[in-house]
């Protein structure tokens, strides 16, 4: 299996504060991975390293077979609901079109790509509405559409269901379920107990190793009695006491 993301002994610190210390893990192409950890554990830093928005102070980050920076055009990013100015005049279609940007140019056929992304994220009916007029759940799906507009091979979502009602959460995971297999998906969540049943790999940030934190791969099993408000009741329970060694490669990896 081809590798979509590989961290090899990655260290990172903000000035004097060490966040990651020699963290290693990998995610195969087409997999659905959950990066879990408590608030402040460094999950968002891991995302920023994957997207090339930060550089590691040590070790190596490989994304889609090259550097994280080179992979940027093929990575779709859904941030935590960013603070936005409600008086900013922008329609849903224009927000989604931002995903077609590639540096100082736009990908060709922007309009058709945007229409496709709106449809895949199930927000076509909102296309001409002002972004500020949407509910939190609708805005989140619009941001998923914006990420899909870049036609990504890797989709990265930061806390996609925070402050989202159960119905919106179900719709979002339905969209992600349809993408799974054709797109590698990485979801960051602070819920360390349960993950979506779409999840193939659970990567836990937060176990201290040396000065910073490591990333440990755990297994998950179907949770028969998951709270119904979580992922529509289709959840897996993370088994924190079972760790799977992940030095950044496995026997199924094709190099």
């Amino acid at each position: 299996m081809k590798v979509a993301i590989r961290f090899l002994d990655v260290s990172f610190s903000y000035e004097q504060v060490s966040v990651l210390d020699k963290a290693s893990f990998h995610v195969h192409e087409g997999e659905f991975a959950a990066i879990v950890g408590q608030n402040g554990s460094g999950k968002t830093t891991v995302l920023k390293l994957i997207m090339g928005l930060e550089r590691p102070s040590g070790g190596q980050v490989e994304v889609l077979g090259g550097s994280a920076y080179a992979a940027r055009p093929h990575v779709g990013y859904v941030p935590q609901l960013p603070a936005y100015d409600p008086s900013f005049p922008v329609s849903v279609r224009d927000v989604v079109r931002m995903g077609v940007l590639h540096g100082l140019t736009e990908k060709r056929g922007a309009r058709a790509t945007v229409d496709r992304a709106l449809e895949r994220a199930d927000v076509s009916d909102l296309a001409d509405r002002p972004y500020a007029a949407l509910s939190g759940g609708q805005r989140r799906r619009v941001l998923v559409a914006r990420a899909l507009a870049s036609e990504p091979r890797l989709l990265v979502l930061d806390e996609p269901t925070a402050n989202m009602d159960a119905a919106s959460e179900n719709r979002l995971y339905k969209v992600l379920g349809e993408l799974k297999g054709s797109t590698t998906i990485v979801v960051v969540t602070h819920d360390t107990g349960f993950v979506s049943d779409l999840t193939d790999a659970v990567l836990c940030v937060g176990d201290r190793a040396g000065t910073g934190r490591s990333i440990v791969r755990h297994t998950a099993e179907p949770a028969e009695h998951a709270p119904p408000e979580l992922y529509g009741g289709k959840a897996k329970r993370v088994l924190h006491d079972v760790s799977v060694p992940d030095p950044g490669r496995c026997k199924e990896c094709s190099e």
Partner: protein, 289 residues
């Protein structure tokens, strides 16, 4: 109004036509650049640049009057201070870890103070009032040409990089993830704002240029559905208040810059009141249903 129209066609009063042309050309910058300054929330930065410009004007007047650089026009000093303060603000905004607002306020205050100090030591009479509040009736043909060139540059850049500017203003981190050079866009906006402030201060003055870079854009923001719509709406609003303000100032013998800004403020507040009323009506209709 008829007196203003008659003055426009009076061959003996070319400065009135120049004033109107300056108002129309400035409106493009107020509309296009002002909309970006407003949505990018750069008004404070633009305010610091515009006030620091007085330092350059004062220095140029001082150097020229002392014979150190004879004939040095104030606009050159203004331009140097504007670009320097924009560079400093850019550096502080992008690199300073803390106290960004204190540094920007310091640039604002020190620039103005230097201007007053240089003018105090300038032999003869250097009146800061015409620079602070503008004197549109002294607009030269060269000023108009420069405004025209800057209009063209700003409009062409806005058309070419519209999507990038919109993305950077809306969600900077996402724009960076899409490979948009967000710091470059920010520095380019600062530089353009600096040059624009120097040229626009002849119209409304240093103190009020920031009002015209924000009020028409904010007024257009009440109805605009896109940043492009806001730019067009703000340009139209600027044309209306500039022309109306000039006519009122001519008829009532009042300072044109102050009348234009007062009118822009009144239109903005009327817009806010109408929006508030419309919102209340909408709520009561929904309540009745």
């Amino acid at each position: 109004m008829s007196a203003f129209v008659a003055a426009l066609f009076d061959p003996a009063l070319p400065f009135v036509r120049n004033a109107l042309l300056a108002g129309l050309l400035s409106s493009v910058l107020f509309g296009v650049l002002g909309s970006v300054v407003t949505v990018k929330r750069m008004a404070g930065l633009a305010g610091a640049i515009s006030h620091a410009v007085l330092g350059g004007i004062g220095l140029a007047l001082f150097l020229a009057s002392r014979g150190i650089l004879p004939g040095l026009p104030p606009v050159v000093g203004a331009l140097v201070f504007a670009v320097l303060s924009a560079a400093l603000i850019g550096f502080v905004s992008l690199r300073a870890k803390q106290r960004e607002d204190s540094a920007i306020n310091a640039i604002w205050a020190i620039g103005m103070s230097l201007g007053i100090l240089f003018m105090a030591r300038t032999p003869g009479y250097a009146d800061p009032m015409s620079y602070l509040f503008g004197n549109i009736l002294l607009v030269t043909t060269r000023d108009l040409a420069l405004l025209g060139v800057l209009d063209l540059i700003v409009v062409l850049l806005a058309i070419r990089y519209y999507r990038q500017v919109e993305a950077v203003a809306f969600d900077e981190e996402f724009a960076r993830a899409r490979g948009v050079p967000t710091e470059g866009v920010f520095l380019a906006l600062l530089a353009l704002t600096a040059v624009a402030v120097v040229l626009l201060q002849t119209f409304v003055g240093i103190v009020m240029v920031i009002a015209m870079l924000t009020l028409p854009a904010a007024t257009a923001g009440y109805v605009a559905k896109s940043l492009a719509g806001m730019m067009v709406g703000a340009t139209i609003a600027s044309v209306v208040v500039s022309t109306g303000g000039l006519a009122v100032a001519w008829a009532a013998d009042l300072p044109a810059g102050a009348v234009v800004v007062t009118l822009a403020g009144a239109v903005f507040m009327a817009g806010a009141a109408l929006r508030g009323l419309a919102g209340r009506k909408g709520r009561s209709k929904r309540g009745a249903a």
